[in-house]
């Protein structure tokens, strides 16, 4: 495992940010780390990058213990939310400072810095002082900083924050390219399509705990439910009463509240349809319900109330709940 945590807890005087995280991040690929604001993502990342001391529990990276000052951290490149730089230095000089502190020396450093700036699209602004940079430019520079040491593990906390659409695409391509080159990427984000698109495996965090963990494909697997759309929300509500409690729910992702999800496989669609018609309801459309990461995320982070442990998704495909 590249990252392992056991019973990781971080308490601040005002709150408990991380409430016992067990994490196993395998080598290679992109590992998505999801959670709503305040779920404990950034705190976990700060512990993993040696910025915070855990209150309890332990973390290991490449099998070596992680704490502030741990030698293994030289193998980690990080982009932490709201990156900070010396405003009176140019982008190139900031990179030189961090590259030098990382142990790189000229002429290797100069080449790496130029390459990193080019890779994140900042080559033209290399000599400009960072004090005048936009949020997106700082984000790009932070990415260059994370990559300059050619780390084995890259930890990215909301890497596309503040980027314009082109920048978002560039960064996603960069992440995919790094992963293809064999670098392990630990990607924290609340941009769910981004994680869905890039990650091979995800963990979902809520209130400081992991509520689900496993391969992304399993998480998004078809859950054998039938989505039935009606012409009006009233019709949908009537259908719920025809089918009875426990057999169907309103689809929370349907904006018009005109769709229900029936707990039955698609092969039972004709039987369910007949039942509804006989009950006086007229479905407009029946289809297989494919879950989006957003819907899974919403379900898990707003409804999960079982503190006993995360939902494991390795035995695919299984319903999350």
């Amino acid at each position: 495992m590249v990252i392992e945590t056991r019973g990781l807890v971080k308490e601040f005087p005002e709150a408990r940010a991380v409430a016992g995280i067990d994490l196993d991040v395998p080598a290679g690929g992109v590992y998505g780390f999801l959670g709503p604001n305040g779920a404990g993502k950034t705190t976990t990342i700060r512990i993993l990058t040696g910025l915070l001391w855990p209150t309890r529990g332990a973390a290991r990276i490449f099998g070596e213990p992680v704490e502030p000052g741990a030698p293994v951290l030289t193998r980690v490149g990080s982009l932490i939310e709201r990156p900070a730089f010396y405003p009176y230095l140019s982008a190139m000089d900031n990179l030189r400072v961090f590259g030098t502190a990382h142990g790189l020396t000229d002429p290797l450093l100069a080449g790496r810095a130029a390459e990193a700036l080019d890779r994140v699209g900042l080559a033209a602004a290399a000599r400009r002082k960072v004090g005048g940079f936009s949020t997106g430019m700082r984000q790009r520079l932070a990415l260059a900083t994370a990559l300059i040491g050619r780390p084995d593990l890259v930890v990215l906390d909301e890497p596309t924050n503040g980027l314009d659409p082109n920048g978002v695409v560039d960064v996603r391509e960069l992440i995919a390219g790094l992963a293809a080159d064999g670098t392990t990427i630990f990607l924290s984000s609340h941009v769910l399509p981004e994680v869905e698109q890039l990650s091979s495996r995800v963990a979902i965090l809520s209130e400081g705990r992991i509520v689900a963990e496993g391969p992304t494909t399993n998480l998004l697997a078809t859950d054998e439910r039938i989505a039935i759309r009606f012409d009006t929300p009233v019709e949908a509500t009537r259908a719920l009463s025809i089918l009875g409690a426990g057999r169907a729910v309103l689809d929370p992702s349907a904006p018009a509240a005109d769709t229900i999800l029936v707990n039955a496989p698609m092969r039972d669609a004709s039987r369910v349809n007949r039942e509804l018609v006989e009950g006086g309801s007229s479905p407009a459309e029946l289809r297989t319900h494919r879950r989006s990461l957003e819907s899974v995320f919403r379900e898990l982070t707003t409804e999960h109330d079982d503190p006993s442990g995360p939902v494991a998704l390795d035995a695919a495909p299984t319903p999350v709940r």
Partner: protein, 332 residues
């Protein structure tokens, strides 16, 4: 460590505000040197008989006296005043000969170093600004992501400050030499300077660097604790002032049965600094140190012991700073 020092070099050499402070210290030192010379070289005005007579008349001293009486008294008064002015002038010239020696070589560098307090305060300000800005800009996080060994990070920073301190004191010595030579070149009135004790002078420079380092360690530790440079600098100055105030409390002035208590102030940071600078300053033969008072105390502490007291204080501040940076959560 070399890598961190190189990184600090890149960082510090582009910080214009720091160079303004350093340049300001050198300029102010130069102004103070030249201003001191201008004051010392100026002669008192010659005795003005007419003005004296006018002043005496205006004072009402002769009211009620006849002209004959006035004519008899006035020459005596004028003679007395003339004699006093002549004596004052002779005294001034004697003191002036000594005073002006301070601006010639080899006395000039010691003259500047006698007022090194300002430089030490400036170095403490630089240290607190540099450390505090890591929190203000949030760059401590980025720095520690690049170099995770916090003890080395702190050590590199302190070594950078030490290099800056040595550089500033060398620059002060050079400024004194250049200004002294400049005064000679423009034909300024400079009597031959008294010789100095060079090893003692070198010891004084080292002491000043030690003092600056201890004060820098204090403000660095405070900056790490308070996560603010300006606040740490102000609190550091306040602590030093409190130290000066506390050692003057009556409880420490008693001697005899309470001799042990009276010796306590000799171990305070500010007293140790003042004692060491005064004692070593006199050993150098520097005329600028001739009138510097040596803080008293029941113990006749050797300069080595005094330096040891400073080193002990520095060690305390270093341990606090080291513990703080290693144990702190970086939340910026």
């Amino acid at each position: 460590m070399n890598a961190l020092l190189r990184a600090d070099l890149i960082r510090l050499r582009r910080r214009l505000d720091l160079w303004f402070i350093v340049a300001g210290v050198l300029v102010l030192a130069g102004i103070s040197f030249v201003g001191g010379y201008s004051g010392d070289v100026a002669d008192p005005p010659p005795f003005d008989r007419a003005a004296f007579v006018q002043q005496t008349n205006d004072s009402g001293m002769f009211v009620g006296m006849t002209q004959a009486e006035i004519d008899a008294q006035l020459p005596l008064l004028v003679a007395d005043a003339q004699a006093a002015a002549d004596a004052g002038r002779a005294d001034h010239e004697a003191r002036q000969v000594v005073a002006l020696q301070r601006y010639g070589l080899p006395q000039a560098p010691l003259t500047l170093l006698a007022s090194s307090l300002f430089s030490i305060i400036a170095l403490a300000l630089i240290a607190s600004l540099v450390v505090g800005d890591e929190f203000r800009f949030g760059t401590l996080r980025t720095s520690l992501l690049a170099a995770s060994d916090r003890r080395r990070f702190l050590a590199a920073r302190l070594i950078s400050f030490l290099v800056l301190t040595v550089g500033l004191f060398v620059a002060l010595v050079l400024v004194a030499v250049v200004l002294s030579l400049g005064l000679t070149l423009i034909g300024a009135e400079l009597p031959p300077s008294a010789p100095i004790n060079v090893p003692a002078a070198a010891g004084l420079v080292v002491t000043d660097i030690l003092v600056a380092t201890v004060v820098i360690l204090l403000t660095t530790a405070l900056s790490l604790i308070m996560r603010s440079g300006v606040l740490a600098f102000l609190v550091g100055l306040l602590l030093l002032l409190i130290d000066v105030f506390l050692v003057q409390l009556p409880v420490f002035q008693s001697l005899g049965a309470q001799a042990a208590l009276a010796a306590v102030p000799q171990f305070s940071l500010t007293t140790a600094i003042r004692t060491l600078q005064a004692v070593l300053g006199r050993d150098t033969g520097g005329l600028a140190f001739a009138d510097l008072p040596v803080p008293g105390g029941p113990l006749n502490l050797d300069p080595v012991v005094l330096a040891g007291i400073l080193v002990a204080w520095g060690a305390v501040f270093l341990v606090v700073a080291d513990r703080r940076i290693r144990r702190m959560d970086v939340v910026e």
